[in-house]
């Protein structure tokens, strides 16, 4: 609606060229670089034309938050500060996004849980904030180790939820995530999750886009809700009277509001498929045995498949990239021929297996495990052992098996 002029081809104050995102991500030359996941977050943010980043230290995202502080000092981020707690950070993110800024933050584990009240508020207010979640244990006794249980709490907040396997996923999805999140028919926050330490603290070769190219800035005039101003503060949308009244129209408004948030999650499907080439990826999906996983459990699954191949056992793989919107159709199609569906997970409850069981016919095919938690690693051998047990083959007993 606004009279905006395209900034594509012009330069920002750091001399970076605002570049068409599709060209930047798909056509620009890439430079292989050997970085930790945290450093990759920094490099993605360098190119993200981010207006505001708000930080609070909690392992294992602290390094990324600190590195983005360096970016601010270098002049790549519009504003940067530390909040008083994760709850404060997420509230401050909302304020910045209400004001029309492109906002970024990072959190993990108990930080995610502490801030939880804000996430449905972000969705309800249609704020396209991007939050990196470097998953870790949330339980008592205190654990800082990798564990994906916190993702399950995010699934019903109305946020988009993506689960990166590698640092390369991370780099690409941070930048592409803004493109999906900021579409006016979506305009929702994105929780971009990874498995803490496994991705954040290990080095990997990541192909980076040129550092002198950056995303076009966020255009708040495309927002589906009015930007905050003193004439029409958005908080007025949510205060008394309709919030507090017990009558049909009050309920109808709330119901419509919630439906609209979840419709926006659904509408993100089209854009997400275009930007990250599908909500899932498959390899040998015609195999009778399939590993279906998300995050670094996918990497462990790949290794298990290689070990099984050495023994002449053919096994396929479904990598779930996006958890919200849930790729139900894709999973039904990918698993239609599978007799055994193995779901390895880094959490105690097996939330991904439950989601898959609720999605496919003949759900007894789903084997909810192996599962590890509390920071345990998942050697590919335990996935191999699980599969061989299912196939009625004798295996050596292994400690640490879930389910």
């Amino acid at each position: 609606m606004a009279d905006t002029h395209s900034v594509i081809g012009t330069k920002n104050k750091k001399g970076q060229t605002f570049t068409d995102t599709w060209k930047m991500m798909n056509e620009a030359p890439r430079t292989p670089s050997f970085y930790t996941g945290s450093e990759v977050i920094k490099e993605a943010l360098r190119r993200a034309s981010c207006d505001v980043m708000i930080a609070y230290p909690i392992t294992p995202q602290s390094e990324a938050a600190a590195l983005i502080g360096e970016l601010f000092a270098e002049g790549y981020i519009g504003d940067y500060f530390r909040g008083e707690s994760e709850f404060a950070v997420m509230s401050q993110c909302a304020g910045a996004a209400f004001g029309g800024a492109r906002v970024f933050t990072t959190t993990a584990g108990p930080g995610t849980m502490r801030a939880m009240e804000n996430f449905p508020m972000w969705s309800g207010a249609r704020l396209p904030i991007q939050m990196i979640v470097t998953c870790r244990g949330i339980n008592s006794p205190l654990s800082i180790q990798p564990d994906t249980l916190e993702i399950s709490y995010l699934l019903n907040t109305g946020m988009l939820v993506w689960h990166a396997e590698t640092a390369q996923d991370f780099f690409d999805w941070i930048l592409k995530g803004y493109m999906v999140s900021e579409e006016p028919d979506v305009h929702l926050p994105l929780a971009l999750c990874c498995d803490g330490f496994f991705v954040t603290h290990t080095k990997d070769v990541v192909n980076l886009t040129p550092a002198d190219m950056c995303l076009p800035p966020y255009d708040p005039y495309r927002s589906p809700v009015p930007c905050m101003d003193m004439e029409c503060p958005p908080v007025r949308m949510m205060r008394d009277p309709f919030v507090m009244k017990s009558n049909y129209i009050s309920y109808a408004t709330h119901a419509s509001w919630q439906q609209e948030v979840w419709a926006a999650v659904e509408r993100s499907r089209k854009h997400t498929i275009r930007w990250i080439n599908g909500l899932i990826e498959t390899e040998n999906a015609d195999a009778e045995v399939l590993i279906v996983a998300s995050g670094t459990a996918v990497s462990q699954g790949r290794e298990a498949i290689r070990l099984l191949e050495d023994e002449g056992i053919r096994c396929g793989l479904v990598k779930i990239k996006v958890l919200r919107p849930w790729p139900g159709e894709e999973i039904r199609e990918a698993t239609k021929n599978a007799k055994h569906i193995i779901v390895p997970e880094f959490n105690v409850t097996g939330w991904l297996a439950k989601e898959i069981r609720a999605t496919i016919p003949n759900s007894e095919r789903v084997n909810a495990g192996p599962r590890v938690c509390g920071g345990m690693t998942m050697p590919p051998e335990i996935i191999v052992s699980e599969i061989k047990n299912l196939l009625g083959m004798r295996t050596m007993s292994l400690a640490g098996r879930g389910s």
Partner: protein, 189 residues
């Protein structure tokens, strides 16, 4: 929820993606059939906050005038603004405005059986369209400046002055060829 919205150059009618040209015809027909065809302009076109908004407002006025010229006796085109999204519970004046949180009041009060949203922020539009759809039998059209609305029965996308004028042209073209409904919208679902 969850229909696929149209791509540029397309529109949707009852959730079916169609070429935009077909939607102009259908929208014009619905206007000419209705007893109370109504335009609901929102804040994005009610104030001249940029040149494009002012031009759109002029085009909407032209569409309204076209409707008045093309309808038959007994049909009453209306232009009712949706200026403010803040709730004004328990009372709005449905004579002069539509409140996005209580759109059914305006629809019921004026017996509106066909309406078009334009210049309404997408979230508020979808919210109102859902309530209208759930509580009235009004035919809803959205002339959306962004990606379109699945909650309208017919939706354009990428609204522009040209598209509004094209819709007015379609109304003019179909003048006299569409039989108006004899009754207005029912008050309930």
């Amino acid at each position: 929820m969850g229909i696929c919205l149209p791509n540029p150059g397309e529109a949707h009618i009852n959730g079916v993606i169609v070429p935009e040209e077909k939607a102009y015809e259908e929208a014009a027909k619905q206007f000419l059939m209705a007893k109370v065809p109504t335009l609901f302009p929102g804040p994005l076109v009610l104030w001249a906050w940029n040149e494009k908004a002012a031009k759109k407002a002029t085009a909407i006025r032209h569409l309204y005038n076209t409707l008045k010229e093309c309808v038959q006796p007994g049909q009453t085109p209306m232009l009712i603004p949706m200026p403010d999204y803040r709730p004004k519970y328990p009372k709005i004046n449905p004579e002069v405005e539509i409140n996005p949180n209580h759109p059914n009041l305006t629809i019921w009060h004026n017996k509106i059986d066909c309406c078009m949203f334009i210049g309404v922020h997408c979230h508020q539009a979808n919210l109102s369209l859902k309530i209208i759809r759930g509580g009235t039998s009004c035919y809803t059209i959205a002339m959306c400046a962004q990606a379109g609305h699945e909650d309208a029965m017919l939706s354009f996308r990428d609204a522009s002055v040209e598209k509004i004028m094209k819709l007015a042209d379609a109304v003019k073209r179909l003048k006299g060829s569409v039989k108006p409904r004899l009754t207005s919208a029912k008050h309930g679902a």
